[in-house]
Symmetry: C2
Subunit: 467 residues, 2 copies
Amino acid sequence: MSTIDPGDRSLAADLPGLDLITDSDVLDSLSHDDAEWAPTGRPVGAIRARTTEEVTAIVAACAARRIPVVARGAGTGLSGGANAVDGGLILDLSRMNRIVEIDPDNMIAIVQPGVVNDDLKAAVAAHGLWYPPDPASAPWSTIGGNVATNAGGLCCLKYGVTRDYVLGLQAVVGGPAGPYGTAVRAGRRTTKGVAGYDLVGLFVGSEGTLGVVTEVTLRLRPARTAAPRTVVGAFDNVVAAGNAVAATTRAGLLPTALELLDRACLRAVEDWKHLGLSATAEALLLAQVDTPGEAGHDEAAALAQVFRDAGAQWAEHSTDELEAEALFAARRLAYPAMERLGPVLTEDVCVPRSAVPAMLASIEAIGARHGIAIATVAHAGDGNLHPLIRTRTGDETAREAAQKAFDEILTEAIALGGTVTGEHGVGLLKRAGMRQELDPPALSMMQALKRTLDPLDLFNPGKVIGL
Amino acid sequence: MSTIDPGDRSLAADLPGLDLITDSDVLDSLSHDDAEWAPTGRPVGAIRARTTEEVTAIVAACAARRIPVVARGAGTGLSGGANAVDGGLILDLSRMNRIVEIDPDNMIAIVQPGVVNDDLKAAVAAHGLWYPPDPASAPWSTIGGNVATNAGGLCCLKYGVTRDYVLGLQAVVGGPAGPYGTAVRAGRRTTKGVAGYDLVGLFVGSEGTLGVVTEVTLRLRPARTAAPRTVVGAFDNVVAAGNAVAATTRAGLLPTALELLDRACLRAVEDWKHLGLSATAEALLLAQVDTPGEAGHDEAAALAQVFRDAGAQWAEHSTDELEAEALFAARRLAYPAMERLGPVLTEDVCVPRSAVPAMLASIEAIGARHGIAIATVAHAGDGNLHPLIRTRTGDETAREAAQKAFDEILTEAIALGGTVTGEHGVGLLKRAGMRQELDPPALSMMQALKRTLDPLDLFNPGKVIGL
């Protein structure tokens, strides 16, 4: 993999001033995202683009040679969506990390795709504004990657997902828009707008299969004035915690976040970070309420009561801000903490909220049946569960059992009226599950859209609908 | 128009049990929406469908004969999107008005397209739930029509538009999905989901040009517990009111609704309904705040202060619920009240909020230049303005002047970074404006999507992207 063939050398010749990376160590590091077990192809090289014009030239040159283009940001994806494909170019957008504009009067920001989510949050906070989408990867993941997967996070329960914040974008495309390498602007700067089809919504969540997004116009919200309140409940088992989740919705309560952490996750974080968490319960529910004033106090108290009524060992409206921060930090660190312990196969099913207890019970049963450890962390209030299936490096039997458990969890989620992916995307790992989930005519329509907008199958081929 | 040719009679023969309406009076009433001046074609007939299966049969039969299908709900559209086309069938969905399911545990409703917006609101309210999108036409317009145009309304400032509430849908389509008449399910019941491309988002706002939507799965919210507070400000002129709108956003305030009514609109409503409104100011701003408790009181007070600082004659945090209701009723009645006075050409531009004062000044200047009366009602907080251009029946000179003013308003909105349609849709009236607004490659992509998903150009041909 340290040399590329002469045909590919001509790609470099066509792109003067751009550094075509062919060093095998660097290529290896750029060839995959955070998804365990997703296959990785052998790329011809990588380029770190800095401007839309460079992306335009790169896409045109690749199209001329039929070299697939796989765009990537920080590589924090969990479905293999950014994994290299054989003979393809890796287009690294992490250096396109400029915040182009913050417009406080209209509460919008325009950013390049490589801007890190938390960096954007900090920049707009200085203007009294807030960008809500908060995937657990927010300290590292980029807006481009968030847009590619329609990333969710903790606070989407109340504030929605990435798609709800993307007003407009610029993308480098081919096909009906013009020759490959054409830059197109879709969407708008206004809060409302219905002039033509929703191209923006189509690109969000398309995982780089329809073009390369080079600029994003984002809607912002006013910064929250009051510190959010935290409610914590401890439960004897995850299913009991799931019952409390269902009861929360039934009570008409809409916290900002409603997260579930099981004992294995809590312990993994504590062993790593020593945050001072005690893990006496089998499952914790963490809720955040941001309604200001007395009404927020009442909402938090009502939530704690719902937890108690659902059988919590204890439930508290936390008054200790440090403790609350530690708990949410633990939630965010659950995935990397588990990853430290060995290979993890991450699930991302989403079921109707009323089905959360049943789904959690099924996950336990599936783990027991295959004799494997499944830790669970969840955006439980959204019905979005992340069972983390653990294995041991080099243990092929355990790996096969994990794969079976993975597939059974997907099947069960579909049976409960859910989806195989709530926020991580299809990438490579969920392609079979997606086919199982979708109505066949809908899949045919998606494939037709891909063929229409990318007739050369140049952009991230094989991912998502995987022609 | 009272007879149809033999070729079309065979359509009726193919659809036993379905009543093909050919009575010219009935056809006339079903041939247009509420858009003045949009051209109306001569249909071959109309059918009032009651089930998805009937729609399936109708679409298949029409496809076999290349008879275009124009779906319609209540006909309250304002862009001609539901107007009949020559030789086409009118597919009236207003009888498909069943609420299929209300699921309080998951806060969703599944409805047929003919359900009236306010009827849905009332039905879910009985379960302690709320369906926020509230176009002024809510007492009459259907969810199907709301989905077709991605309808907005008053409270979208804080709670979003129709697209934000559509989780899933069923549509009868043709092309890549299968033979014309294939029913496809897209989307989901869960709050999150990223399995494949966003077909749902693509259908919402496509104005019936990609297929016929026969069922919609909607996200709901918990009912609001506190009665909203109303803040009213009176201004010397509409531009001053516009300045207050811009100042509201700048102050980080996010009321539920922020509406503008000028004197002409207020007077037209009062002359008609005698609500007891006094119209001493040139423009009123009506805001609603639904933050509960003391924080809501503070927010309303801050808003009144912003109005005063921006030069309001007076601004009050209304404590009289009846008065507040009368003012919002007046806002909702503004359009029909103006329509009573003669033909009205309704605009629907949306500009960045900071450009609202400039846009209002331009509208005044354009009216003065052409010597025509333009009344303005606006979802001002969204930057979504509805200048109502008045003419007199039979006055061709006035009509031409109105058309010129209409076009100039669109051009000005685009120049200010806005869009030609915020929520009414493109239909027939905004086709030229949309072409002016869109990046040409984006238009080409939309046309390619239409050709791909509706290769026969069967569904509402000539509307929106208008092949």
